[in-house]
């Protein structure tokens, strides 16, 4: 019996040995587990840092830009074709925007996004243009004449000249409330902008001037967009209402011009300076036009929800 008791006692001692090692092993296991979590977090952080998560909000801006450009082209097309009345243009723009909504909706759904475009509002205006390639005199062949009076906004004002004679042709925007004038002098090899006593010029080579976009032959002309001694040199900058005049229009021997103003009273603008729609004379002309449109845009994905109004007035100084 005594031997058995000794054996049991020894066994008991055996089973309780290495407790310290066991506790240490558990503690080390816990430390290693903590280390694993930390390594995991670090790897995830590296992964997160390489992700670009702004794709959808960038896409929203791209769609907005696309809708603006597409609608601008629809408005320009409607203004230039079948422009018998404001109602006709409005109907055509409505159809065009419905098409825009349909096509962009299909495109965006392929990208997993919902897009909706609605035609909310519009501003009627008038398009003044000459497309006969003559000089820039009026329908009575007078070189100095007024295109429109008391205009608040003008967009897409372009001059395409193919032959310039000696002398200076001038486009004037005259402030209705004061004697201030914005003047653009065009000569054979130079254009010069004068506004609020400041003058700036650009080289010019018988071709295209976009007054509202500030380009000459498709390239930026600083004189049309700069700020000189704190005075903006842009077309009609700082004027609430202004008249638009041509001086010495016969200096431009051959060319065309076009501009859209936000005055919808076409009959008042169309005085003796312009040719009647079906009447005598070879231009220039005035036709009804849509000046601008306001759209409602909704873009929605699982992560981005973007709703905004979109103002479309192609070629407007903003």
């Amino acid at each position: 019996m005594a031997n058995l008791a000794a054996l049991l006692s020894r066994r008991r001692n055996c089973s309780s040995r290495a407790q310290l090692i066991l506790v240490t092993a558990f503690a080390l296991a816990a430390i290693l587990l903590g280390l694993a979590i930390i390594v995991n977090s670090a790897i995830f952080t590296e992964n997160l840092a390489t992700r670009s998560e702004n794709v959808e909000s960038t896409e929203a801006l791209e769609y907005r830009q696309g809708v603006t450009q597409f609608t601008g082209e629809v408005i320009d097309f409607a203004n230039e074709h079948n422009h018998t009345s404001h109602e006709t243009i409005r109907d055509n723009v409505t159809i065009g925007i419905e098409d825009t909504n349909r096509y962009t909706g299909v495109m965006s759904s392929e990208d997993g996004a919902g897009l909706s475009v609605t035609f909310d509002d519009y501003t009627d205006g008038a398009r003044i243009f000459q497309d006969t390639g003559d000089d820039f005199a009026n329908n009575q062949s007078e070189p100095d004449w007024t295109l429109a009076e008391d205009i608040e906004n003008t967009r897409a004002f372009t001059l395409n000249t193919t032959e310039i004679g000696p002398g200076t042709f001038t486009v004037v925007a005259a402030d209705s409330a004061s004697t201030d004038e914005w003047r653009l002098d065009i000569e054979e090899d130079e254009i010069e902008v004068t506004h609020q006593g400041e003058t700036e010029s650009c080289d010019y080579d018988v071709a295209d001037v976009d007054l509202t976009s500030g380009t000459v032959n498709g390239e930026t002309c600083p004189a049309l967009i700069d700020t000189e001694n704190g005075e903006p040199m842009q077309f009609a900058a700082g004027f609430d209402e202004y008249d638009i005049r041509f001086e010495d229009g016969d200096v431009i021997r051959e060319g065309n011009f076009s501009l859209v103003v936000d005055d919808d009273d076409v009959d008042t603008i169309r005085d003796d300076d312009y040719a009647e729609i079906d009447g005598p004379g070879d231009g220039p002309y005035v036709r009804p036009a849509m000046y601008s449109a306001r759209l409602g845009l909704e873009y929605e994905t699982s992560r981005v929800n973007y709703e905004t109004d979109v103002f479309v007035a192609p070629g407007e100084i903003r």
């Binding site: 930390i38 702004n54 109004d309």
Partner: protein
């Protein structure tokens, strides 16, 4: 002569256990401190990365707002980890002269600040980690953060 002379078995055990305990304690203390140190560093880096991601979304909301007109609604929701290295965290837009996005954890106390360079104003707002919503508040004309 017996080899066990002048040696007490009990004393031997005590010495062995004491030395083992001291060594093990040293190992655990050093290991624990190392883990804690590494954890703080990882939390710091992770908060920095999450903060920059959230800031890029705040900038995106700013861009969307800058290119918008009239009535508008801007809402960007983005899932992020709900905790960093096992501890929860908080995001706060601090509306001050130079606004910042602050991310902080309580245990351990770690915080990171990311400067916000928005054109649109930001307003004081707080949310916890997880899915973060960045919204433009039209009434207050400011960008805020919220939870989903």
């Amino acid at each position: 002569m017996k080899s066990t002379r002048a040696v007490s078995r009990v004393l031997g055990y005590v010495l062995t256990l004491s030395i083992t305990a001291v060594l093990v304690s040293g190992l655990l203390i050093a290991g624990g401190a190392l883990i804690e140190d590494q954890r703080e560093q990882v939390i710091e880096t992770e908060l920095q990365v999450i903060g920059e991601q959230v800031t890029s979304h705040i900038n995106a909301a700013d861009r969307l707002n800058q290119s918008s007109e009239g009535d508008q609604k801007i809402r960007i929701s983005q899932p992020f980890p709900s905790d960093v290295s096992g501890t929860s965290y908080r995001l706060t837009i601090e509306e001050q002269e130079s606004p910042v996005l602050r991310l902080e954890t309580n245990r351990p106390e770690v915080s990171q600040e990311i400067p916000l360079r928005n054109t649109t104003a930001v307003e004081q707002s707080t949310t916890s980690g997880g899915t973060v919503v960045i919204e433009y508040d039209e009434d207050r004309d400011a960008v805020v953060i919220d939870d989903a």
